[in-house]
Assembly symmetry: C2
Amino acid sequence: MSADEFDTIRTLFAPLATSAGARGLLDDVAVLEASGKLVVTTDAIVEGVHFLADDPIDTVAKKALRVNLSDLVAKGARPIGALLTLVWPDRRASRELADFARGLREDMELFSIPLLGGDTTSTPGPLTVSITAFGVPLGERVPSRADAKAGEQVWVTGFIGQALLGLRALQEAPDVIGANARDRVGAEEIVDWYRMPRPPIGFAPVIARYASASTDISDGLAADAANIAGASGVGIRIHGEAIPLSSAGHAYVSKFGARGLAELVTGGDDYQALFTAAPEHRGAIIAAARAADVNVALIGDVVEGGGVEISVVDGAPLDLNAFGHRHKLGR
Amino acid sequence: MSADEFDTIRTLFAPLATSAGARGLLDDVAVLEASGKLVVTTDAIVEGVHFLADDPIDTVAKKALRVNLSDLVAKGARPIGALLTLVWPDRRASRELADFARGLREDMELFSIPLLGGDTTSTPGPLTVSITAFGVPLGERVPSRADAKAGEQVWVTGFIGQALLGLRALQEAPDVIGANARDRVGAEEIVDWYRMPRPPIGFAPVIARYASASTDISDGLAADAANIAGASGVGIRIHGEAIPLSSAGHAYVSKFGARGLAELVTGGDDYQALFTAAPEHRGAIIAAARAADVNVALIGDVVEGGGVEISVVDGAPLDLNAFGHRHKLGR
């Protein structure tokens, strides 16, 4: 990347650097003013692994940001800023940079997050976008994966398996996701579920207030439930019929049965929140979710023991090992 | 990368996560306890751009960390932690992961920096390592590039052009860097200058106390001086003969003359500190550098106007444009 292109990048991204600590993107560092706890997360996305080479570049920028925002939401934290590391392929047209910056700007304005700084470099390889996001906890504690206790209930936001359905719609015959669902929501919207995760930003205060253990779902509901179970030294029992599915998801399970459900819960890239809470918070969580206009579902229980089991009415529990926990594009 | 390999990585890196906020690398986020200013920087290095595919993998880990530490030093900040984003090629042997972790561990222990967390993903492309580092300012203010004032003096730490000499020794006939120098320091050590930058960690308190403007040198002395000049709205005049060179650097200039010096000041990857300070601090800076065992040189002056000029005794100023500011491997 030439010096001129670096200057172009600075010009494109400077409008996103709305906080004083960003120093107008003209310095080597950002300076955060902090008092108390600061939640920090970093997630990278790679072309050919987490997104497709021909995904619109503005959606790539948004995905890179949102996969980090989902971590903050799941910790009950309010985003306060982000660093962008942009590893740009030599062979990718630099005019796409403007669209990348536009996409990032739209999301940063939507979620009120300033750009604090970052790094830009060229690569002979695939486009890689790494974002580090900062948040301030809204509660006294920051729920970890290790805080689940037997007797608690297990909750999840949004709809599970949407990203997998979107990816299937992109990669395979569109009718794999069910003609009914396609008629209802349109193929474009289904694809968007893959390209642009929708972390439940408005739900962070609810998690801060009521969650014991919490994580975002990046590797699939089953794998991330297993992360909580393992870190907390408990078992998690999920009722398959309680897992929230969109109409497209229901159509997929109707078509493929238990195997279809197992794919949806191991597909990954949901970027929803998975958390546990004491049973007495049940009513408050439902009321708060309604007020925040976030879909939330009670899907199971924390039990003594270990592991994750997803039961299905009138059938054997799902065989999760048959699908692996990470069968996304490249890994 | 398989789930097993992710577990391997966690096992390898967990010993580096010595602070409570890292949550044993078992959570989605890190939690920093902060009060007041926090200095944040992020720099990525890419195989084939910032390092060579056959560089020893432990030196790649160290370089990734050190290019970030140089930013903290140049801001007068003490490192308190780092996040690692490791984008690992599908085709690179996973047994190299252990050597990468060992290299990172050696440096994190050497510089007393805990690993706070990070992200790991596979890539079909080149190895890419992105680190975000956190520091606490040792002084009242965090010197930026924009704080230089006419009348101040310009200082630089270490020796300039060492990385370029190391890269030349790796890529070209070794005698390009001068037979005398090779005899004196050994080819291995010269190559190390390229592979492992040596930011002047012990010098951070001196910069915190005396520097007005400050930056690390990543794009070359000339380009980074131009960054300060541009951001501060001043000119910088550097005396070529005052630029600190190692014996190998002197040999290179003896062989190639002004052209050789121009290459050394535009070669980049020095990761030393370049700063300005009021003339009355001159004696204190020299004394503090001696106490910290850091090489520091007074190389020029901040003047009214703009731009960077490097004068040479008995000759025209260096023609910096002839070499460009970023002629490293891939950009």
